[in-house]
């Protein structure tokens, strides 16, 4: 078996205030997989995501990315390997132009000059927005900003792309276009979402997180088809949608 891209063993975490968010999470994601991380509000999904690139460190347990443990001495390499796309693109895009923003990550990795320019173009082309390079992020539509946000992370050539609610606030056409793009990307994806049809459409495997533990893990069709599991953890398919 190949080395998993993500390997979490017994990850537990309590916030400094005392609120415990994670109670021993075990999770493996293998190269090439597209995995949906499902769960109700407050399940600990965001807390889990912040463990993947070392923003938070587990109180107990370990996190490894392609075999490299997430610890202070490898933080830069971990953050290159794990690309997190946050929910609000206005948080992700903070530089004056799209080009500068996409260059921010690779520049932090030490790339300069022609190599950096090529990386920026490559990332923007991957999400189909190469023509927006010199625009200011606040002049773009929401769908364009979401795509540029993904490009900012792709520019670091991550081994795994972690998307936090990628379909939120998108109109149906932008939502479908984004799905088309995500399918073409040659990268492992972990997608945190409430949008169950989107998970069904894009991810062959789903993991259900509830109250800080993994309560379901399997093929998306089976997980979403398990009515008892779904009801127990406040997950609902939209009205009229059937597996």
């Amino acid at each position: 078996m190949t080395t998993p891209v993500l390997e979490l063993r017994g990850v537990a975490y309590a916030y400094p205030g005392g609120h415990q968010a994670l109670f021993g999470v075990d999770l493996h994601v293998h190269p090439g997989e597209r995995v949906a991380l499902l769960g109700p509000n407050g399940a600990g999904k965001t807390t889990l995501v912040l463990h993947l690139n070392g923003v938070l460190s587990p109180g107990h347990g370990t996190v490894a990315v392609s075999g490299l443990p997430v610890s202070d001495e490898h933080l830069l390499e971990i953050r290159r390997r794990v690309g997190i796309v946050f929910q609000d693109p206005d948080d992700q895009l903070f530089m004056p132009t799209v080009r500068d923003d996409v260059a921010f990550g690779p520049a932090n990795l030490g790339l300069r000059g022609a190599e950096l320019d090529a990386r920026v173009v490559e990332a923007l082309e991957a999400v189909g927005v190469a023509d927006l390079a010199d625009r200011a992020p606040h002049h773009l539509s929401f769908g364009q900003r979401r795509r540029v946000a993904i490009a900012t992370v792709l520019a670091m050539r991550p081994q795994i792309l972690v998307l936090d609610e990628p379909s939120s606030n998108l109109d149906p056409a932008s939502r479908r276009e984004l799905a088309d793009i995500l399918r073409t990307l040659d990268v492992t994806i972990l997608m945190v979402t409430h949008d169950l049809p989107y998970a069904m459409e894009l991810c062959e495997r789903s993991v259900v997180l509830s109250e800080g533990t993994v309560v379901g893990d399997g093929p998306t069709r089976e997980v979403l088809g398990d009515a008892a599991l779904m009801a127990r953890h406040r997950l609902e398919l939209p009205v009229g949608f059937s597996i």
């Binding site: 830069l76 004056p96 990795l109």
Partner: protein, 254 residues
């Protein structure tokens, strides 16, 4: 709001001043303004000549007057102050047409008006020819500390986002019948500002998180260094050197 400063000050163009690297322009502007301010107040003719230089520079940008005039309006409060000055200042009075005004006040008012206008005209010439992004790069190139460069850069980036929040809060208040007409509505407005501050602070935390996630280590990477050719330095330093010479000259020949 929607028309935040910075985002819309720049006007696309192909003039010489548009193509000169921003750091050179910034140095030229700063020197020019400092030199103009150092000219003695009594040398009104020298100041008028320097105003003509600034106007010539502004015209050389070939930006249409309809773009320039609204940007020049920033000077209005200073102009009003300059007009009031001769009437309120003390000291010997002189007769100006039907009214009697303070002599020192009149000199100061003329100098204030000339210096202020020259400064604003020069600053507008810089602003209309420089993209916000290039201004940020220029500050970085001139070794302005990273935190200050970042604050300037984030202001350019987020002024519209925060303005949008402010507008939505105002609409939400109005939609529930709120009408700010008396002092009694101030607590509501203050609470709104407080909420906006908290939201902006939280956004700051999220932006920082996104930066850290992309390998931010506390230093702003220099991705495309700026370089100005000697001829470009000459273009921007020309007016500044003229102003320095004028200032020195005006002091030596009283």
């Amino acid at each position: 709001m929607g028309s935040g400063p910075g985002a819309h000050l720049h006007v696309e163009g192909t003039s010489r001043l548009h193509t000169v690297p921003a750091h050179a322009k910034l140095v030229g502007l700063l020197l020019f303004v400092l030199a103009v301010v150092s000219v003695p107040n009594e040398a009104a003719l020298v100041l008028a000549a320097l105003l003509a230089v600034a106007v010539a520079v502004l015209l050389s940008t070939r930006v249409a007057a309809r773009h320039l005039l609204p940007r020049l309006a920033v000077e209005t409060p200073f102009a009003v102050f300059a007009v009031v000055l001769p009437f309120v200042a003390v000291g010997p009075r002189v007769q100006l047409g039907p009214v009697s005004v303070s002599e020192a006040g009149l000199t100061a008012a003329v100098a204030l008006l000339l210096k202020g206008t020259t400064g604003v005209v020069a600053a507008v010439a810089f602003a209309v020819t420089t993209r916000p992004r290039d201004l940020v790069r220029a500050l970085q190139h001139l070794r302005v500390p990273d935190p200050l460069v970042l604050i300037a850069s984030f202001m350019v980036r987020y002024v519209d986002v925060i303005g949008g929040q402010l507008r939505r809060m105002r609409v939400a208040r109005a939609s529930r019948g709120f009408d700010a007409r008396s002092v009694r509505s101030w607590p509501v407005l203050a609470a709104g500002m407080g909420a906006l501050f908290i939201r902006s602070y939280e956004r700051g935390e999220r932006v920082h998180l996104a930066m850290v996630s992309r390998g931010w280590s506390g230093r702003l990477p220099v991705t495309s260094p700026l370089a100005a050719r000697p001829t470009e330095w000459l273009v921007v330093l020309g007016p500044a050197l003229a102003a320095v010479a004028a200032s020195v000259g005006a002091r030596m020949v009283p």
